[in-house]
């Protein structure tokens, strides 16, 4: 049901989002290089998981609504606003939709923030994982996450988590996409399969 592994982590001054790149329809991989980190605004991204169609549609709708909203208020929108817009759609259509978006970004008022919108709730967390592959790395993230990590530590933490999940979850794989958002803007990176960290493979 839930395809993917997605993760978002706050650090002091921004956030790091990460995802795998596999889209499967049953057993077939229909896209092995899909970027599941979608832009909602300059400094706000969301990570898509679950049904690809539902997630993409929600992201596009919120992108539009955020554009209108940011013109109305005349400045960059808050991350909480973006997350609320996602939550409103997820909650209103919760019976029809099956997608989970993690919203993360940077704004002037609150710095780096990560919001979870699973099933229509709205909750801010220091980090969040989602998708089918997330089950396998709950133990790892619980053990390895520390408060107050630096930007580079966060990036390494996200890459390690994605790599571990991809090696265990059949619905996750391909390359790892990373987006780092801070005051200066958003920086996208793609890490190919052979450059990912390897762990003990029995």
């Amino acid at each position: 049901k839930s395809i993917t592994t997605i993760i978002a982590v706050e650090f002091n001054g921004g956030v790091v989002l990460g995802s795998d790149s596999r889209v499967s329809a049953g057993e077939t991989v229909v896209n092995r290089v899909m970027n599941k980190l979608s832009l909602l605004h300059d400094k706000i991204y969301c990570a898509l998981s679950g049904s690809a169609a539902d997630a993409q549609t929600i992201a596009e709708m919120v992108n539009y609504q955020l554009d209108v909203h940011s013109i109305e208020i005349g400045e960059d929108p808050q991350v909480r606003s973006a997350a609320t817009l996602v939550k409103n759609i997820s909650y209103k259509y919760k019976e029809e939709l099956s997608a989970h978006l993690i919203v993360a970004g940077w704004d002037r008022r609150g710095g780096g923030q990560v919001f979870v919108t699973l099933n229509g709730l709205l909750s801010r967390q220091p980090f969040a994982v989602g998708g089918s592959g997330s089950s396998y790395v709950y133990g790892f993230v619980d053990a390895e996450y520390q408060k107050g990590m630096s930007k580079e530590d966060c990036q390494q933490f996200v890459v390690n988590t994605i790599s571990l999940a991809m090696s265990r979850d059949g619905s996750s794989g391909g390359v790892a996409y990373l987006v780092t958002i801070d005051e200066k803007g958003a920086e996208e990176k793609c890490i190919l399969g052979n450059e990912l960290p390897t762990f003990y493979d029995q």
Binding site: S135, D142, E144, A165, R168, Y200, Q202
Partner: protein, 231 residues
């Protein structure tokens, strides 16, 4: 994710609905976290201690590490009844075999006895078992016999419903060539993480180290479990 609950509702003359509470109608399950790690000279095995019937915890101090022979243990997950029955049968068969052979049995033999039973009755059973122990021929060994009845030897293995959550931790933290103390520490951490996330696992962490000299058992109580920064 392995789901370890099955509600076997039999058609009775008495409809049990009013007389018996919901939780007593569910099958007893060891929704669980179990694991075993090889090291040079033996194995370390560990399990949580929760047995559930539906949402009710029937036993919060279960011992899921069952001795099969002097130096061979099995870790049980799945239906409590099924695993106890299979373990008893294998204990009997192995004891008999060991007397015939006039020497301690091999871990591989015990594991294969489990496999034969779990494979033959695969449709009826719900049992995921990890067999671990020490023998003279190959030292410490861990064999996993998951549901369905396959058998494979692995240096480290996790099982049960809570195991899904610690695959990532296991992959990143296991290193070959650990000492006994390092293995015990690794198992304690992994069980703690799984017990935090899995509703069907909890209680105390039971550990055992099996070497040539025998079995050393340990219990880590709830308040003595390691704490992680945000858990």
């Amino acid at each position: 994710m392995a789901a370890c609950m099955s509600a076997n509702r039999s058609e009775n003359a008495f409809s049990a609905n009013d007389l018996v509470p919901e939780w007593a109608q569910e099958e007893v399950s060891t929704g669980t976290t179990i694991m075993a790690v090889e090291f040079d000279g033996g194995v370390v095995i560990g399990a949580d201690s929760r047995t559930t019937t539906g949402a009710y915890i029937a036993n919060r101090v279960t011992d899921k590490l069952t001795p099969i022979h002097d130096h061979i243990f099995c870790c049980r997950s799945g239906s409590a009844a099924d695993t106890q029955a299979v373990a008893d049968a294998v204990t009997y068969q192995l004891g008999f075999h060991s007397i015939e052979l006039d020497e301690p049995p091999l871990v591989q033999t015990a594991a294969n006895l489990f496999k034969q039973m779990c494979y033959r009755y695969r449709e009826e059973l719900m049992a995921g078992i990890i067999v671990a122990g020490w023998d003279k021929r190959k030292g410490g060994q861990v064999y996993t016999v998951p549901m369905g009845g396959m058998i494979v030897r692995q240096p480290v293995s996790v099982g049960g419903s809570g195991s899904s959550y610690i695959y990532g931790f296991m992959d990143s933290n296991y290193k070959p060539g650990m000492t006994k103390e390092e293995c015990l520490h690794f198992c304690t951490q992994a069980l703690t993480l799984a017990m935090e996330r899995d509703g069907s696992s909890g209680g105390v962490a039971r550990l055992a180290a099996i070497t040539e000299d025998g079995v050393e058992r340990r219990v880590v109580l709830g308040n003595q479990l390691p704490k992680f920064s945000n858990v």
